[in-house]
Subunit: 115 residues, 2 copies
DNA sequence: ACTATTAGTTAGGCAAGCCTAACTAATAGT
DNA sequence: ACTATTAGTTAGGCTTGCCTAACTAATAGT
């Protein structure tokens, strides 16, 4: 969730700080601060002296996986007629629980169905 | 999760006790005991003197919703070529996070696609 | 200079949902 | 009768992931 948000923010913002994540996710500063600490400790992100956040290779990989899942699942739900807001919320939750196998199968299916 | 398990067990077992749920879910007795207490307190199940469990109307409704979701999602993933074990595990998690809107859209799509 | 705002931190709380450990109570085996 | 097994309970622990509260430190407004 956090990694994906950082990736998305880095696309449109040039630089990403904790406060941007706070605004994006509507969480509290303290929650984000603690989460960033953990991501730092586990080597998913790096933070420079001014608090600017960059994804490590490891973190970027996960972020990209999540973003791909999110995009495909929400697009697909929207394509099926689901309201966009709901589709995005559902994709957000499904992307975290679906296995790589199921996602790949779904991806293949969606790509075929859309043609 | 628990309600759905109770419904499935009641189909094949005539009577359902906590221990049956322990075996079905591979949880510990204490976890199931605590969970049953909460379900009882919130009016989802009833337990008689011998510990036999029945779903209330409220509990049955939720159990049936979950089971329908579970069945449709896992069947669909299997249909897409996902290994059955993985499909069932994924369905288990997705059924709890998908909205009614998305599920209905998906159901419609799956029914059409299968013909 | 003084104050307000902004960014970030730590500490402690709380709920969910699992666990182990220690217990009661009833039934079954010999 | 005594013991082992089976079913169930309570208490307390742990992790995740959010929260509020109280704090530091730096920047901006007048």
């Amino acid at each position: 969730m956090y990694l994906e948000t950082i990736l998305v923010l880095s696309h449109k913002n040039a630089q990403v700080r904790s406060i941007d994540i706070v605004d994006a996710l509507n969480f509290k500063k303290s929650s984000v601060s603690v989460a960033m600490k953990k991501l730092r400790e586990n080597g998913y992100i790096e933070m420079d002296g001014e608090g600017y956040i960059t994804l490590t290779k490891k973190g970027r990989g996960i972020a990209e996986t999540m973003l791909e899942r999110h995009t495909l699942i929400s697009d697909w739900l929207i394509y099926l007629g689901v309201d966009k807001t709901i589709a995005v919320e559902d994709a957000c939750r499904i992307e975290h629980v679906i296995s790589p196998e199921s996602f790949e199968a779904m991806k293949k299916h969606v790509e075929e169905a859309k043609q």
